[in-house]
Amino acid sequence: MAHIRKAEGVIDWLDQRLAVKKLAKVMMTEYWIPKDINFLWAMGVVLVVLLKILIISGIFLLMYYKPDVNLAFDSVNYTIMQEVEYGWLWRHLHGVAASCIFLIIYIHMFTGIYYGSYKQGREMIWLTGMALFGIFSAEAFSGYMLPWGQMSYWAAQVITNLFGGIPFIGSDLVVWIRGDFAVADATLTRFFMLHVLLLPLAIITLVAVHFYALRIPHVNNQEAEELDFEAEAKKFQEGKKRESKVVPFWPVFLSKDFFVVGVFMVLFFYLVFYHYDFAMDPINFEPANSMKTPAHIYPEWYFLWSYEVLRGFFFPVGPIAAMDIGLAAFGFANVIFMIFPFLDRDPKVAPAHRRPRFKIWFWLLLIDMIILTIFGKLPPLGINTYIGFVAAISFILLFVALPFITKKDALGGTK
């Protein structure tokens, strides 16, 4: 055992027992980040802030929420929104943060794709990130069910039904997921459990792994320059700060992030107080009613692109039903991002603007996903169905083409 001396102060007392000074170095003051980055590298910290808001507001909501089909709606809309002091604020924070976190996740993801930050040692960062995306999706879906409004109920109905399309076990699986033959009280209580316990645990664990996965290969930079972090860190510590190509996480990197977070929070709170309908759909303020199908059923905006891939295939091909093709495409859409690093056959790490074919591919993908998102919400009528179909097919073809395109870029060399 280490020799314990009389402590000179609280920090020293802790240091002797927990090595807090060493810890602070490893985590903060000697955690080196490239200097050549832009504000897109602050999205990770913005996500952490949003996650904290979700956890804290969620804890307050949990104190009054009642997971019971007869009580849930009123516990949210009356008890929390009207009776509890500032309960409405917690709910607005929770709802708006849930929507915003997906916006930032998408920006974060596309940043990673653009700068090639998913390969050459950074695969685990990407994989844990995509796993987080998947679990966040489940978290958002289960959370949306809790107020037991019209869309809670009908989205649950439609989405759980999707599993029925899986061959052989489909219909049993649907019942197993719902805990009942129809979406009912048992469904609500189990999704409540997932939302407040199992999924948050998984998220917090995965976030830790995601951060850890970043330590070994280090953060990428705007020009994808390969840095000798030890040498650069040494320069910084010797006082050659201008010359060094790295900066410490604290305070240098975070000082920039705080500013980005501050600006983002201005927008965020504006949305919380004045412009929340996009995140808290008015239709969900109508109590769930199994006898009254809403005129339009659609998921939250962040699921629309994959929903549209599902809907896009609206006609059968030979003996295969439209629904089954759509479901296969939907499955494809949900796993394809996961294996992104392995579809990119160009071993070099470079930002998209230095990869001539990939650059075009990148913007096409972004535009295609936006088209899918927009048409995913529109009623599937007339021309909409055809645009949806073309966009869905394009999405799949883009990913089929990815290995070839990146291979060609690799052979042609980067600019």
């Binding site: 009356y78 000082s255 008015p282 998102t373």
Partner: protein, 288 residues
Amino acid sequence: MREFKILGVVIFFTLLVYWGVEPFAHSQMHPHVAPADFTFKDLGTLQKQGDPKTGADTFMNAGCIGCHGVQSQGMPAPMDNASASASFGVTPPDLSSAGAIYAENFLAALIKNPAHALKVEHKFNETRQHPMPAFYGLGDDLDQEIADIVAYLKSIAPKQMNGKEVFVDACQRCHDMKYDKMYTTSDRETLAGYMGINPPDLSMMIRSKGTEYLNIFINNPQKQLAGTSMPRVGLNEVAQEQVISYIEETGDRKKSQREAIGPKIIGFMLIFAVLAYLWKVKIWRELH
């Protein structure tokens, strides 16, 4: 400069998605309908000048009080709620405030032909009569008699009403307002039978429908829900505004609190952002 370019790209695509899934999608899902019409143009205008004194007698003889109460004039409802529900499917409202809350020409048209004024002719016809019978007159000029009744109802109506009172007289025979502990006066089962559907609780309508929709819908339900059994209630502009603000007070009780602390928190974050910027500049100065 590069950062601004990137920021521009991020903002552009974010706004594009927002526009697509919010304003654009809503315009596609909910086609625009004409604004509320408080003149009830389709019912024409009141031609005759009514006399409240004659109207009082006409009213008593017209049979209205066989079904309706007029509490303010010491005339209680002739039947209790249960038997009224059983007879009519819905409890006939008290008429004390009718002259204040309904548009004049609407009231006249209602007395002459209820199903027409209420826009429920798709539900009622010769074989299935509306529970409120049309008034065929006492033998004199029908339009004059009706104008007199309207004038009488206006003369006894209160000068000042609040939103809740409008709700009680105009909506409560069908709707609950659960979050204000107000429940329909009709028997639920017969009401559902009469309407063909359970009239929804109005507590959260302000959040689920919004002011604009409510304003058009209450003025003429058929515009938003073609074929619906909810009648056109015929509120005048003032009364409708009051009932909507009552719906808002009940469903969005914390609105004023929300609007009061919003600027403070946003202001706080602005100051935070400025201080963070200054700190960042200070730290990065020695790095470039």
